[in-house]
Symmetry: D2
Subunit: 412 residues, 4 copies
């Protein structure tokens, strides 16, 4: 059927209302306190008692209300939401720092859970998927490496050699987001298992428990001076890290196959959360522009502020519609056809959200760049999205290649 319904479905409406209300009324008001607690007891890499209380309290409430694991699309265990439907929820979750985690819908866990569900053994599912689904542990996805251009993932170099019943891993990973979290128990790791053969069949995906000997936490990467503790983006070194051979998923050389399936929905989620961040920023900007006065007038009435607000509104609407279209393409079941749409939103959504957030920051003046609003933190997070999962340039290249192929079958 050819209906391209980008609207909110009837069944989604009540769920969406509950999620939106919980984000606004219960999560947002606690975000600031949660963040201010970081490091209060002397260790930035653990949670304070109050942080645990806040986070687990929110999670318990959400779970109780059945607002949990929405990302389980097409699953008989979940809501079976379509990607379009999930997108609307992701937007709401994006508005609060603890939004996604409250509903057990955080990156990189959702992607990792999907990988475990599709490619994990029964044992993997019992040991890692079950507690992840219950929000008792967290996970990390180890892809990027310090010495190679991440824009071309075939450069990934962490070695993974078979040794009897085990694989032995050596190398470095960085930007391992979430690996700083004391609850992070399992890593899904992209490794190189062959030096030869077709370029996209040399890599594999393997499960590595976080407490495996030989894993050294070198340091936390900063994002514009922010370490995002205790979540963190760690730089890790693997020295002869040994795991059972059955931890290798799907088979040697099938790393990219898994990664592709994993990244598509993840990018849509990221983008829709970015739209949520943009909406939050625009709301803040509007409220501020009416509340704050200068030269005897509310800021809204000064200079180009009407135009700025209008441009932000228009750009958000367009970016959201494009995300929903990409989600709809994903729902049609042909990932190859959906790919260029996902590349498009990967470029567009962070850009729009960054712009809107930057304008909001400017409207707030000194307060905007400070810890007093969520805007500066939101901006730095959004800025990482122009690099994570492929920099803009790579996605633009993909879009252009698809465009040109319409007119020729030759590769250009």
């Amino acid at each position: 059927m050819s209906i391209m319904d980008l609207g909110m479905t009837e069944r989604l409406k009540p769920i969406h209302d509950k999620v939106a209300r919980m984000v606004r009324e219960e999560i947002m008001p606690l975000d600031g306190e949660f963040l201010a607690e970081v490091g209060r007891d002397g260790d930035r890499w653990s949670y304070t008692a109050r942080q645990t209380e806040i986070l687990e309290g929110l999670k318990a409430k959400a779970r109780e209300r059945g607002l949990w694991n929405f990302w389980l699309t097409e699953s008989n265990r979940g809501y079976g939401l379509s990607t379009v439907e999930y997108a609307y929820l992701a937007e709401e979750m994006g508005k609060a720092h603890l939004g996604a985690e409250t509903f057990n819908c955080s990156a990189p866990d959702t992607g990792n859970m999907e990988v475990l569900e599709r490619y994990g053994s029964e044992d993997h599912k019992r040991t890692w998927l079950a507690p992840l689904l219950e929000g008792r542990i967290r996970s990390a996805y180890l892809m990027t490496e310090p010495d190679v251009a991440s824009s071309d993932a075939t450069n990934i170099a962490m070695s993974c050699e078979r040794d009897g019943a085990d694989y032995v891993l050596n190398g470095e990973k960085w930007w391992s987001s979430g690996a700083g979290d004391p609850r992070c128990a399992i890593y899904v790791v992209m490794v190189k298992t062959a030096e030869d053969g077709p370029k996209h069949q040399r890599h594999s995906m393997i499960l590595v428990p976080a407490d495996t000997p030989g894993i050294i936490k070198l340091r936390a990467m900063h994002v514009y001076g922010e370490d995002d503790a205790p979540h963190g983006h760690l730089h890790l070194k693997f020295e002869n890290v040994r795991v059972p051979a059955e931890n290798l998923l799907l088979g040697e050389g099938r790393g990219f196959e898994i990664a592709q399936g994993r990244l598509g929905p993840g990018r849509i989620h990221h983008c829709m959360r970015a739209i949520g961040q943009a909406e939050m920023a625009l709301e803040q900007m509007c409220r501020r522009s009416m509340r704050r006065e200068a030269f005897g007038k509310p800021l809204a009435q000064l200079g180009a502020n009407y135009d700025i607000i209008a441009e932000c509104r228009m750009e958000i609407e367009m970016a959201r519609l494009l995300c929903l279209k990409a989600a709809w393409m994903m729902d049609r079941g042909d990932p190859r056809a959906a790919a260029p749409w996902i590349s498009q939103i990967k470029v567009v959504a962070p850009r729009v959200a960054l712009k809107v957030t930057d304008e909001a920051i400017q409207m707030f003046g000194g307060q905007g760049i400070s810890q007093d609003t969520p805007l500066a933190r939101s901006w730095t997070h959004l800025r990482t999205l122009r690099l994570a999962d492929g920099p803009d340039a790579v996605h633009r290249r993909q879009v252009a290649r698809v465009e040109l192929k319409k007119y020729t079958q030759e590769k250009v």
Copy 2:
């Protein structure tokens, strides 16, 4: 029901295919010849025999195939297409110079026909609507005046005074598009009928036959040096132009009421045709970039051309989705709710189409700015859309006002 279907419906698909194919295969190939004929027989303001042959030939074919008057939405005489459905057709029509007229869907006729259908007397319908519906005559819409800021339509000043059984009109109008066409038989004219009273109730809409004595064609306005003959954008003077009192539509003081109903759909049509122009330009750009070589490589592979192509693709997709959303809002039957969406696309669609067309022109080099491609003409037409029916600034202002009102009931 809350389905927001922005896709092509089943019933539209075959119609769309026919229209798209006719535009590409039959209309586009004749555009160049048609335009080159202008003034060939010494008079730019009449059609040459060959022009008539081309145009009437295309119209006859379209009508024969039932591809006619699609704009008659919700009408039992037409297809009863929704605005969303019509939007998809408008996009195709926008790709060729003679696209809209071939299917009797040209501006300003469609808007004028809607006005006649809704507010005209039986006599008006017989005399003007019937031949318009059959494509035998054309019409013009006289709004803008040389001496007042058109951004604020309450400035409109053409006087219209009752004198016995008649109204007598005096004043000037310009940018009367289509008034140069020898087939243009009827003008729908916005006039001022009261000096006092509420600002939006001082104006009226009145029908003036083009051959009424006292109408002086002062000159043709140029658009970047192009007079668009024989269609033309005329500067007219009305000196004691007398028409029967019954030509005044709906009643004195109701001009804005009529104008509002007329402009919404018209703006959507303009915007979707602009999307069509953008698609055409992008296609030209891609083909050129693969065909033309410099420094031993196709242009596509040089410099930032991949990025330019990708950005154009992304901007078109977003603008189209926004137009479809605005059309969908219009279809929901609440023009007040649809208004800010129409303001949004009015700003966005011409901007995107101008940008894409300008990039295509740059890819073509000297040829791009010349008469050898449709790009330069397309650009100048698109540029007028940033001014027609309200300049960008006015629409941005509307969008911002709606945005701020979400947070306060006070006017800011």
Copy 3:
């Protein structure tokens, strides 16, 4: 000495004042009438008596006042102005349509005169340079061809074969600006004289009188619908066009050597005239914004207009300073060092002038795109500058290459 004086010198000041005043008070007021005369007597490709009266009247006045041939830098016959000094005059001339020609400083004549002075024989100088210096004839520069990418000038293909005491030319040229002018008597033509050898030594420059048999004027190229008659940008065909061998300048294979020397100053002049056009547009925009009212206020006080005006002012200042710096580099006598600066302004100056002019057009509404202000015509002329003498992309490439070479001697 290392003084980088970008200001107006003492000796220039009085000359500048006279030129600026003459442009504003005597030339500008006649521009409109001059342009409206085009084709009035039925032939767009000749001058009407009134046009001749206007143009020759202005030239006579300028010459009488000694305001003539300023471009003769470093010459004992001219003012001996530096390029920086000339740049200030070019800015003023750019403000009026007849500005440059009034002072015998038009393109392409200035460049052609320099070529004749440097490389012409005594006979060439007597026959062509002398009347050009006196403003009695005009000239054209034939470079671009329809079938090859002009961004890579080594593609130029017009053949030029030695046949006894003559050369015989065959091929097509287009965008031959000024070739439509009945006074245009001499063409400077880039031709291909060798099929082999180093890429930049296969071309030559040759003089071809405009009345040589075999030259066919195929048509006038349009610039956004404007043919710029009677100046014109012609598409010419050369069929066995025969000229004496001594018409070939400097020697076979030295075409690029001549072109390089010719283009540098010419690009600076173009850019500074563009700055003049931008200044004129900004002035128009400001005056309009204070004069015109909407919603009960002058436009200046509405929306983002203050910000638009400020941005235009800032961009003009920066672009002018960059042009002056490039001119200063040119004056230092090392064209190789000046080249990347000229590439920079070639990208920047037209871009800024286009932007400012477009904003001015928007401020004028329908009037802005029409024949009622010089803005639309100015815009289309400026748009050609993004293509003429190398498209933006080629100049950006040059700038980047120079930048990267700072860090490596290897070619990247």
Copy 4:
């Protein structure tokens, strides 16, 4: 004389060379270590022994070489450099984190020292100016307040009431940059001394020693998550802070008079350091683009990177020239005439530097946003400049007002 020399003077050349070399060879290599030391001994708000060693070592070397207090323009104690000359040095200092402080040319000390020199008593000069000139103490400038729009400085509200021989201050200040530094000994504070009278004569400037009782350090403001310890941007509370009446500079109500004189040169210095940051970022970007490979090629050769590099080069050149022009205007001795030029660069220089730095970050991928390059820190610092000393919108407004006044004497 009208020479507008924007180049480097003969006398400046050797000084510039020394400063540039010291920045590149001695300061830059220590920046990373200095920054990594912050908080190493458990207290972010003091300097570690190694930090002191680094900083004082550099200062001692600079002073020994006579590279000290360059900002003392027009002074018989300093170099007597012009603002243009100083600008060239500021650019070099901007390239390293410790650049300005090494040469005792840091903000806000230079501005504060100028204030002390011009308006301080002999006692003030002995107590505060002397050690500042020697680099033994540092200072802060307390202007902005949390509860009022800083874009309109007449909102400043900290009360300062006469009580016998003293003034007593109450209120809050924030973004007091440098107030976190243990060496910061003196605050120059903008206060309100009158509730009535002309708007710009209600405020005064007063000296407050940092250790005066009643000053409470509420917290450090973060800049995108970075606290810039131990320099810091503090939020301070003044509770009955009592200072001798003679600490009030120049007289009650003359605060704005002092502020104006103080801010002009300071803004030029900020802007030229921003240009230095941009140059540093462009250099990093170029080097990275040639060193790093993806898809088998250096990044420089991929996608739009050539164009990005070229655009950055062009924008830097233009912004630098505009800063130099503003500096030259300042040197002419008419601050009123220089003011709009300073407003222009205040908008332009941070914008360009932010853009270039952001592009460099993108070229570095994950490393760019991290602590591994100076880029992310540089970006956040530059971002504050769009707010400090007046947000962009206020400066644009000033530029537009001056522009419009050219055409009317009436205020618009």
